[in-house]
């Protein structure tokens, strides 16, 4: 299908002549100049509507170009080769993070390392003093060399340096930016020569392998003089040198400006996020051309590019730091034509290649497995460990963006050349891996491609899945692709809301740009849709750091070579095969919850996640992100099994039957019979709407997402209750109404849903709003489940209540001093003195306290000097009787209370009457209670 759809555009092809290219460059430069002047004018004013057509144009442009390229392949190679070697600062940083991202490094160790290095060298670590991440920078101050720590501020979604207004989606972007622009720093960060000057990924890899040891290694001190010429892109056109001086300079510029910018540029808030293009531009090897007019110093081959030597920066007088992230810009037609199409066109080209050639690119992908385990797949993926790191760097979305931004023709050249030669050598593709699998991998790779030379292949690879692999793996490829799509959909379904809210809250840029792209795909002709799906896969790389992290973890969970992957897989398959092994549904759910919690803490402690999640996600969000990842890698595959198991338990215990019966009873009740008489109940239409929401809830595997739907239901109930009255309803009204609604919905399945949420929801969320309404739903459901019993009990309790009520009323009516003596552990006792009247106190008296003990307590409380002459008496109406020492006042009190018509009574502590001082009442009731 790919081929067919792609072909039509061909006619549009602009002859692809070399001159055309030159023209384009000229145009680009002109635009660039313009851009320099009128920087930020973009996003806000361009509603998506406007952008979309542009994208479409871009796409068609793509096809054209691909064909053009074919003709001129040889010619363009020259320029391209040098491009290939370029890796952006971001790439370099991502690949070498084990060297500079040393979270657990102590203050002392950091100082020791940095003080031996020139100013500008840096580390990122977590300061134990500040309990937060810091950028430790080697500086020169008045007193000599020292190390300065710049705290990293982690907001809910972004990273920034304290005091700076610029925030970044992750630490890599932050550091990359400060390699180019000093902002709040005294000067820009400087990369070690071994990192800045590396020409290939394997060189970087070598560096990364050393980890913190790099700083003490020879590599760290080594100068790379021999290679340096290559580093500067312009000077050394690689192979078929095409002497077009202006061009050499130009390509970088073009690249920067081009499509990629469309992508980033359209979104708003450019200042917030650094456009990777920008980074690439300024990257050591070549890109210093960010400014329209070539700056001699920067262009100089030998020089470390972007960042001026710190010394020179010395401070403020340093040449204007590179512009901040390029202003969002509207796509300019020519550019559009370049960017996105490329991916597609590559696709097309690939098809035309002989199979072996194809294998090249794929193979390379395969070699970098950990991040792109074949979706779902069962095919073993060879995962050479070293490559893993590479992949990480590839995962960088922005890198991809840069990639796409490159001149497609050039890229194609490079690709084809590589295919035939380099590729196979560089990335041995395991022979045994079926093409389909490779395709699958390619898909996942899409999200991780970089702008490095190796990775050039990747973005194209993404579009590959479409074209049928030689072996009729087409179907399989497609299916894996579909799975991928599904997964995305589900993810969208599950997390879409939160992503949405992310967007609102914080980082407008990246998300929006991603969105746009997706939007763009919709504009495409139907025929292209399949391809575009893949392309949209590419754009997954534009997802938020959160989604990237979740995806990485999910991928890791499928990577059989990782310990985490093994644990997850073992557990999942165990449960799938032994769902009956639990004693109850509750037991199963709790075990499951425990497993997820353990896996989360494993991920936090192990180093299997690379780069460390701390570099992508702000500290206080890590747990939440891990939780999401667990839902995806554990709950998602287990949802069906768990449901079946819960259902089995429910059926076998008889709970299901009981629930259905009680539900039917409850459903027959009017709102007021359930206590919901304070507000308007939902009508049948609303009930139907709510049922619909509950049905959707059942499809989710994420407890959080389910709870989100529950909240929507509750919100709807509130809205109906309030009925525009503005009245606020508390639990007295809401809980009965919720009970009524649940009964009306008549969905016994909800019981398991609630149980699922209750047990699997992240415990940290249980105290919040979701937890509250979940608890309420659980409560309402359990009332319904026990409806018959509850009704029976209520008769009893309401009778009791009535009795009590009458008693209280009478007491109140008699205006007897209110007392607390009816409360079980308290006893109100009056001290009656012959001359002073009564004083009363409330004493703590346990049910099994004897009269003797109470007397002692009274003596103490009333400060009676002669307790031996006092005793406790019970006065009822006009009668009085002395209580024997071994009786229990609280029991007596309870007995009186329980009488059908309790009479007012008092406990009185008073002097035992002498023979002379007999109170008539005493005589009347002279007998002590039976012992």
């Amino acid at each position: 299908m790919a081929a067919g759809t792609l072909d039509p555009p061909r006619p549009l092809d602009r002859s692809g002549s070399f001159f055309k290219l030159v023209d384009t460059f000229a145009l680009e430069i002109g635009e660039l100049k313009q851009e320099m002047v009128q920087t930020i004018q973009p996003s806000a004013q361009h509603p998506e509507m406007e952008v979309l057509p542009g994208l479409e144009g871009e796409v068609s442009g793509l096809y054209l170009q691909s064909h053009t390229c074919g003709g001129t392949a040889g010619a363009r190679d020259s320029g391209y080769d040098s491009l290939r070697r370029r890796m952006s600062v971001l790439d370099r940083l991502m690949q070498t993070h084990p060297v500079w991202l040393l979270l657990s490094l102590s203050d002392e160790e950091a100082s020791r390392i940095l003080l031996q290095r020139p100013p500008g060298m840096f580390l990122v670590r977590k300061s134990s003093k500040l309990q937060r991440k810091v950028l430790s920078l080697r500086v020169d101050d008045v007193s000599g060399p020292s190390v300065c720590d710049f705290p990293v501020k982690e907001s809910q979604y972004t990273f920034s340096l304290e005091g700076s207004g610029i925030s970044f989606a992750d630490l890599f972007r932050l550091v990359a930016f400060y390699c180019i622009s000093r902002d709040v720093l005294p000067f820009t960060l400087k990369l070690s020569e071994a990192i800045a000057g590396a020409r290939t990924r394997s060189e970087l890899e070598e560096v990364a392998q050393l980890g913190a040891g790099f700083w003490d290694s020879d590599l760290c001190y080594r100068k790379r003089s021999p290679v340096s010429p290559v580093r500067s892109p312009p000077p050394k056109p690689s192979q078929e040198g095409q002497p077009v001086p202006p061009q050499k300079e130009a390509p970088p510029t073009l690249r920067t400006r081009a499509p990629s910018q469309l992508e980033c540029g359209q979104s708003s808030g450019a200042l917030c996020f650094v456009n990777p293009l920008f980074l690439q531009l300024h990257h050591p090897e070549g890109g210093s051309t960010s400014t329209p007019k070539p700056e001699p110093s920067t262009t100089a081959p030998e020089r470390l590019p972007a960042h001026n030597p710190p010394n020179r920066a010395g401070g403020k007088s340093r040449p204007p730091p590179p512009p901040r992230p390029p202003p969002p810009r509207r796509p300019v037609p020519p550019q559009k034509q370049r960017s996105m199409p490329e991916t597609v066109s590559w696709d097309h080209r690939l098809e035309q290649l002989p199979p072996q050639n194809r294998r090249g690119p794929m193979g390379s992908k395969i070699s970098s497995p950990s991040f792109s385990p074949p979706k779902k797949s069962s095919a073993p993926i060879p995962v050479p460990p070293p490559r893993v790191k590479k992949q990480l760097s590839m995962s960088d979305a922005d890198g991809l963006r840069c990639q796409i931004a490159m001149d497609d023709k050039t890229i194609e050249k490079a690709l084809s050349r590589r295919r035939t030669a380099t590729q196979l050598a560089e990335s041995p593709s395991p022979p045994g891996v079926p093409a389909a699998v490779r395709d699958g991998q390619r898909l996942s790779d899409m999200s991780i491609s970089t702008s490095s030379s190796d990775s050039l292949d990747f973005p194209h690879g993404f579009s590959l899945p479409g074209p049928s692999p030689p072996s009729g793996g087409d179907v399989r490829a497609t299916s894996s692709e579909d799975e991928e799509d599904n997964e995305d959909d589900e993810e969208e379904e599950d997390y879409g809301v939160s992503v949405e809210s992310d967007q609102e809250v914080n980082v407008p840029l990246p998300f929006k740009s991603k969105r746009r792209h997706v939007g763009g795909t919709f504009v495409l002709p139907r025929a292209l849709k399949g391809h575009f799906r893949k392309v949209s896969g590419v754009f997954n790389s534009f997802m938020t750091p959160e989604r990237r992290a979740v995806r990485r973890i999910a991928e890791l969970s499928r990577d059989k070579s990782s310990y985490f992957g093994c644990l997850v897989r073992d557990y999942v398959s165990f449960l799938q095969e032994n769902r009956g092994c639990h004693t109850s549904g509750l037991d199963l759910l709790q075990t499951l919850r425990q497993f997820m919690t353990q896996m989360k803490s494993y991920l936090r402690q192990s180093s299997e996640l690379d780069p460390p999640i701390e570099s992508l996600i702000p500290e206080d969000q890590i747990d939440r992100v891990l939780e999401k990842a667990m839902h995806k890698c554990v709950l998602k595959p287990l949802k069906g099994v768990v449901e079946m198991a819960l259902r089995d338990f429910q059926l076998s215990s008889g709970a299901w039957q009981q629930l259905k019966e009680n539900l039917a009873l409850a459903k027959a009740k009017q709102p007021h019979e359930l206590g919901a008489d304070g507000a308007l109940p939902p009508d049948p239409v609303a009930i139907e709407k709510i049922r619909h929401k509950f049905h959707n809830m059942r499809k989710m595997y994420s407890p959080e997402k389910k709870v989100a739907l529950l909240l929507r239901v509750c919100k709807l109930i509130y809205t109906i209750m309030e009925d525009n009255s503005g009245r606020k309803y508390g639990a007295d009204d809401f809980l009965p109404m919720l009970t009524y609604v649940l009964a009306q919905c008549d969905m016994p399945q909800l019981d398991l849903e609630i149980q699922y949420m209750m047990e699997l929801l992240d415990p940290s969320l249980l105290h919040g709003e979701g937890g509250y309404y979940l608890t309420s739903a659980y409560g309402a459901m359990s009332l319904i489940k026990n409806f018959q019993e509850e009704q029976a009990a209520r008769v009893l309790s309401s009778e009791t209540r009535n009795t009590l009520h009458q008693w209280h009323r009478r007491r109140t009516a008699q205006r007897i001093t209110p007392s607390v003596d009816d409360f079980q552990n308290y006893l109100r006792v009056a001290l009656q003195e012959v001359d002073n009247g009564c004083t009363a106190k409330t004493l703590m008296v346990r049910p099994y306290s004897t009269t003797e003990e109470v007397c002692m307590l009274c003596a103490q409380k009333f400060k009676v000097p002669d307790p031996e002459n006092h005793a406790l008496f019970l006065l009822i109406e006009e009668t009085s009787q002395q209580l024997a020492p071994d009786t229990y006042p609280q029991k007596i009190k309870a007995e009186i209370h329980s009488r059908p018509q309790p009479q007012p009574f008092h406990f009185v502590y008073r002097r035992v009457p002498n023979l002379n001082l007999c109170i008539p009442a005493d005589q009347k009731n002279g007998n002590c209670p039976p012992d």
Binding site: Y718, F734, P736, E769, T775, P818, S819, T842
Partner: protein
């Protein structure tokens, strides 16, 4: 930057005593735009500064009707504090309050801060529960006591301030080192006696 501590607070008391009115009043006064609104009045949140910390109250209302009584443990489980509300014009509601006190003592979280709020003190002329009586009771169980009027916004803020002050700070050392905090902080009530 002050750390935010989330504190679950459970509201108990007879239906109609004004549990949710008190909390609505508390949350609505000084409306904080930073706080995302909740979907309804049964669950409300409000953040208040306390010493070195910010206390974010997550306030769980309960249904006061007898039939929901058995659900209460799910609501007060994990609560840092419970506010038991009675209506000063309804003696019954005070009796109910005592049942709640008892239940909390027996089944509630250890160290739960109990606050007793006599609501509707704007209706003093038909009062059925004397303040002295209630106060003594509160003292006997070492509970916070305050009479409030949700209608007139009397003592509502104070109720929660008192609760805040009884929540032990997370990091006692910080508190020690902060003189001003120490000075302004009221010593925890010393009601330990039982009568």
């Amino acid at each position: 930057e002050m750390a935010i501590r989330e504190l679950k607070v459970c509201l108990l008391g007879d239906t109609g005593v004004g549990k949710s009115s008190i909390v609505c009043r508390f949350v609505q006064d000084h409306f904080d735009h930073n706080i995302s609104p909740t979907i309804g009045a049964s669950f409300l949140t409000k953040t208040v500064p306390c010493g070195n910390e910010l206390h974010k109250f997550l306030i769980w209302d309960t249904a006061g009707q007898e039939r929901f009584h058995s659900l209460a443990p799910m609501y007060y489980r994990g609560s840092a504090a419970a506010v038991i509300v009675y209506d000063i014009t309804k003696l019954d509601s005070f009796q109910t309050l005592k049942k709640w006190v008892k239940e909390l003592k027996e089944h509630g979280p250890e160290d739960i801060v109990v606050a007793i709020a006599g609501n509707k003190n704007d209706l003093g002329d038909i009062r059925e529960v004397p303040m002295k009586e209630a106060k003594e009771f509160a003292e006997s169980i070492a509970a916070i006591f305050i009479e409030t009027s949700a209608r007139n916004a009397v003592n509502v803020e104070e109720l929660f301030q008192k609760i805040s002050r009884q929540i032990p700070p997370l990091d006692p050392q910080d508190v020690e080192s902060n003189e001003s905090f120490k000075l302004t902080r009221q010593p925890p009530p010393a009601y330990k006696r039982c009568c």
